[in-house]
């Protein structure tokens, strides 16, 4: 009962959500549309509770780090301080308040943009490691990458008209075919995962294995 009840609840809810996507806007199936809408709102409420649990975990871990005066406790002070300020501002004045917007636009956004920008350097180091031509596959990867890079950079067309044409062909034909094949396989994988869950074969999301 302890194991089968959650699986049964999940299966019923999932079937309603699936049917909600497919059914037409007919009066006889309005209950499915309505149920789907209600279930999705429940999902939002549950996610909000989960956010509360996550925030408690975060606060607990960092307050312990501060109280123990761990080596990196300073970062914990910054995190707890920022969290408290944003929560108080958000609850008291809402997310439209100028101070809230200022903190968001001048601290969080630039910090996120900095992290995103650093990816450019990581791409170079990853490419440097992986483009060592040690096997046939590495050679194919290296040659393809060089052609595409030259095809997309202005210097490529200066060297030869071959590079832009070849780069476009690689992206439009073999690359698109490969990506579509992966997407098709992955879509079938999603359905197979759903079947496993509906039948109670995969219960890891309940913390159970066998």
């Amino acid at each position: 009962m302890k194991n089968s009840l959650p699986v049964a609840i999940m299966t019923v809810i999932a079937l309603i959500i699936i049917l909600d996507f497919f059914v037409a806007d007919a009066p006889s199936v309005q209950w499915i549309k309505q149920s789907g809408l209600v279930l999705r709102s429940w999902g939002i409420v549950i996610a909000a509770f989960a956010m509360g649990l996550g925030a408690v975990n975060l606060l607990r871990r960092h307050t312990v780090a501060i109280s123990r005066r761990e080596p990196e406790a300073l970062y914990s002070v910054v995190l707890v301080g920022s969290m408290v300020i944003i929560i108080i501002l958000g609850i008291a004045y809402g997310s439209d308040h100028p101070t809230y917007s200022f903190l968001f636009s001048n601290i969080l956004s630039p910090a996120s943009a900095t992290m995103y920008a650093s990816i450019a350097f990581y791409i170079v180091t990853a490419a440097y490691r992986s483009f060592h031509a040690r096997s046939f596959e590495s050679w194919v990867l290296l040659i393809t990458a060089v052609i595409v890079m030259l095809g997309k950079a202005p210097i490529g067309s200066v060297i030869s008209g071959f590079f832009p044409t070849a780069a476009d062909w690689i992206q439009a034909i073999p690359n698109t075919a490969g990506m579509r094949a992966i997407m098709m396989g992955a879509a079938l994988g999603v359905v197979s995962s759903a079947v496993k869950m509906f039948l109670g074969l995969d219960r890891t999301y309940l913390g159970l294995r066998d």
């Binding site: 989960a50 956010m51 180091t125 994988g189 890891t204 294995r209």
Partner: protein, 259 residues
């Protein structure tokens, strides 16, 4: 008409897929257990945890950055299946595990999975709340914190299976710099090239959904993988027939799939 026009073929296909999977499961229960090919990435997980045990450093795991109510949540669930296996290995070998989580709903499930895995291995006292860390629902805040944890704690193995966006490369590069074995997996095609070049082993697309069956070797789960392959054959056949018919000027298949 109960089913919306334009979605009728999809609905019928989904129904037929369900029937096919149930047929394959029944066959497996009758003793016809299919074999699936070796997946080097999943075999490497035990090696990665073993190496972390040898050097006395932790294993880092992440199930991606997608919540459980998203259209790509199946990837997160596939990652959580692997987390169960990794947590059991860590419990068995007394290795530290650090699971970093970006989405709060995933955090609750992941914590339960790790706790249960330690319990099943007979070591509930070894479980600690520090093993599953909720970091924050902001993409690059998560990436910065996870990268920091990987550097500070010098993780010896980095296992990332789930759906990723731009942060994937930040995490895998941090894993590469700490010198650990990296096993990644995703069905998000835009990030797969980064994962393939930056990690030692990568599960591509549907392989992440077969992970649970591969690791458990459960005949019924293996049967579902077989059903998946049969469905793939049917889709390829439909594409071939459609292409040939289209070449001869017939749009019969095109009209069928858009019904």
């Amino acid at each position: 008409m109960l089913i919306e026009v334009g979605k009728q073929f999809s609905f019928a296909s989904l129904f037929l897929l369900f029937v096919l999977f149930i047929y394959c499961i029944r066959e497996a229960r009758r003793g016809k257990v299919p074999q699936i090919r070796k997946l080097a990435a999943l075999d490497a997980i035990e090696e990665a945890v073993g190496r972390a045990t040898e050097v006395g450093r932790p294993v880092h795991f992440s199930p991606g950055i997608i919540e459980l109510t998203h259209e790509r949540s199946a990837q997160t669930l596939a990652g959580l299946s692997v987390l169960s296996y990794v947590a059991k290995l860590c419990a068995r070998y007394d290795t530290d595990l650090v699971t970093t989580i970006m989405k709060p709903d995933v955090y609750v499930v992941a914590e339960e999975i790790v706790k249960q895995s330690f319990l099943e291995e007979g070591k509930p006292d070894r479980f600690s709340g520090e093993m599953v860390r909720f970091i924050g629902a902001e993409q690059f805040a998560y990436a910065a914190a996870a990268v920091g944890i990987m550097y500070r704690e010098q993780v010896a193995a980095n296992i990332m299976i789930g759906s990723w966006l731009a942060e994937a490369l930040l995490l895998t590069e941090a894993g590469a710099q700490t010198g650990g074995i990296q096993v990644t997996g995703s069905a998000t095609v835009a990030q797969l090239p980064f994962l393939v070049v930056a990690s030692d082993y990568c599960l591509i697309g549907e392989e992440i959904y077969a992970a649970s069956a591969y690791l458990s070797q459960n005949p019924v789960e293996l049967a579902v993988v077989r059903g998946q392959d049969l469905a793939k054959v049917a889709v390829i056949a439909l594409m071939c027939v459609g292409s040939v018919l289209l070449a001869f000027g017939s749009e019969a298949i095109l009209q069928l799939i858009t019904k």
